[in-house]
């Protein structure tokens, strides 16, 4: 697994810590001080912490608003339906944390104990962590530059007492920047199963998603597959299908064929997932709208070690 940032001059080079690509890298100060051979101690601590986490899945997209958080939340819920499966959902979108609202956990607070921060438990076997739980008001803005966001992600991985976890799902913000580089670097020593990349059918999304896939290749992050969300809309009245986000260039299907990546599934636009009452997943199972169980099964099949 690639641990270094793109264009990293190398920790042993004369440019270590001084190059333009070094700015914001967690190791910058160490490299610039000449102690480049000594890695951040947090890396070892995180490696230890992650020993009790069996599977780690990142949910990514180059594009915003395609349904990463929605998919992450539903996947976590589906996995946790088996009481014997321990599930953790980590939200590393620092500026726009959607997971607390989606999981019906708004207003919950994080507690600290001797063994670290305790995640917020929705069920006994489903723990959640997000910067949203650290904010005191829904109007609080997190106006942080990259290095501070990186510090928060480090704390989430090092200081949260996740315990024994079968699946850690990591929800990310859109893009290919600080948060993504940091989570991959910090988890470098612990094995990441791979990334599920979310898109919507139109080319404007696919364009960003291709960049995200390139990013995954650059940092040697395996891609479990792609999920095409908002794939068609069935009118509740006349039951006819419309393409609100038309797949003008063939949608995810053609992109996946071109790039030889599995298409894990296509999920239609379902207003029940969007509307406020169903936004909270904290409901009895019978009343909850499920997000394409077949797609979720495909994610698990593709991510399991062969």
């Amino acid at each position: 697994m690639e641990e270094t940032p793109h264009d990293c001059p190398g920790t042993g080079s004369a440019q270590a810590g001084r190059g333009s690509a070094c700015q914001g890298c967690p190791n910058q100060q160490l490299c610039a001080s000449g102690a480049g051979a000594v890695p951040d101690p947090a890396m070892e601590e995180i490696k230890e912490k992650m020993k009790t986490v069996k599977h780690k899945i990142l949910v990514l997209s180059g594009k915003g608003g395609v349904g990463k958080s929605t998919f992450s939340a539903h996947l976590a819920h589906a996995l946790a339906e088996d009481e014997n499966t321990q599930v953790a959902l980590l939200d590393i979108d620092i500026c726009g944390p959607s997971i607390p609202k989606m999981m019906g956990l708004e207003g919950e607070q994080v507690h600290q104990s001797g063994s670290g921060w305790s995640p917020v438990f929705l069920e006994d076997n489903l723990g959640v962590m997000s910067v949203g739980f650290l904010l005191s008001s829904p109007d609080d803005a997190v106006i942080w530059r990259g290095p501070k966001k990186n510090g928060m992600i480090k704390q989430f991985l090092r200081d949260v007492d996740w315990g024994e976890v079968d699946y850690l799902i990591v929800d990310t913000p859109p893009g290919t920047s600080d948060e993504h580089l940091s989570v991959i670097q910090y988890l470098a020593a612990a094995h990441i199963d791979g990334a599920v990349v979310i898109t919507t059918p139109q080319e404007v999304s696919l364009q960003d998603v291709r960049k995200e896939i390139n990013f995954c290749h650059k940092v040697k992050l395996p891609i479990i597959g792609v999920v095409e969300n908002m794939s068609g809309f069935i009118c509740p009245k006349c039951k006819k299908e419309s393409q609100i986000f038309p797949p003008t260039t063939g949608g995810a299907e053609v992109m996946c064929q071109d790039l030889k990546i599995p298409l894990l599934g296509k999920v239609p636009l379902d207003p029940h997932i969007g509307i406020q009452e169903f936004c909270s997943l904290r409901q009895p199972k019978e009343e909850r709208t499920s997000l394409a169980p077949e797609t979720q099964r495909n994610v698990l099949d593709e991510s399991s070690p062969s």
């Binding site: 290095p147 364009q207 419309s242």
Partner: protein, 233 residues
């Protein structure tokens, strides 16, 4: 070309509008594009539209820009100081979602030129509104005036039976504007013709004047025009 310290490359720009949202995928780029086109068509004579984006600097379209904050900040500064913008009535600044490096860098670079303010885009549902509340706090803290809120993806009219479905819930944008004490500029419905035009690089404002999204976007552009004291030349 060196940027002059006194005049700067934005000296010839009359009005600067930032398009913001705490939330991704609500239609900032769409609204930026359509607003620019609407403002263009509303001028007494056809204005040209200038555009700058990192997309033009990439060798390959699929190339990922894997940069941390400081490098992104530097490019944004360059967009302001090193691009020969010339004489412009309006500069519309499209931003990524969030309240981080890019937003602070853009504001720092543009502040000397007194931006008109920000148009904040949301979609109707609670998760969007939740993020956009934080964006409004960002505006308050940084002293950036909020021109108003636009609620995008506000309902979808089925082309087969004309039933309107609130695909992404309803009402959140207007309620937020009321709660935050900022103007509500209008709701723009989901329109596959708009999406298609954006995909194909066509001028929606010129090609689909009958569509509901056109009316909503024109009305929003009119409201913004009212905010600007000088007439378009």
């Amino acid at each position: 070309m060196e940027a002059s310290a006194e005049s700067g490359n934005l000296a010839g720009v009359r009005h600067i509008i930032l398009i913001l949202s705490g939330k991704g995928g609500v239609g900032k780029s769409t609204i930026s594009t359509e607003l620019a086109l609407a403002l263009r068509h509303m001028g007494k004579k056809e204005q040209s539209v200038s555009l700058m984006s990192v997309g033009f600097l990439l060798e390959k379209p699929d190339e990922a820009v894997v940069w941390r904050g400081p490098k992104k900040n530097a490019l944004i500064k360059q967009f302001v100081s090193d691009v020969a913008w010339g004489q412009l009535d309006y500069l519309v600044v499209d931003t990524p979602p969030g309240t981080s490096d890019e937003h602070m860098a853009a504001l720092d670079a543009l502040r000397p030129y007194s931006p008109l303010g920000a148009v904040v885009v949301t979609t109707p549902q609670a998760v969007s509104v939740g993020d956009v509340r934080r964006e409004l706090t960002f505006c308050r803290k940084t002293g950036l005036r909020v021109i108003g809120i636009v609620e995008n993806m506000s309902g979808f009219v089925c082309p087969h039976c004309t039933e309107c479905t609130n695909v992404f819930s309803r009402g959140g944008g207007e309620e937020l504007a009321k709660h935050a004490g900022v103007p509500f500029l209008g709701s723009v419905p989901l329109d596959p013709e708009l999406t298609r035009c954006l995909e194909e690089g066509r001028d929606f404002m010129q090609e689909f004047p009958q569509s509901p999204a056109f009316h909503a976007l024109s009305a929003i552009a009119q409201k913004i025009l009212k905010e600007t004291p000088a007439q378009l030349s």
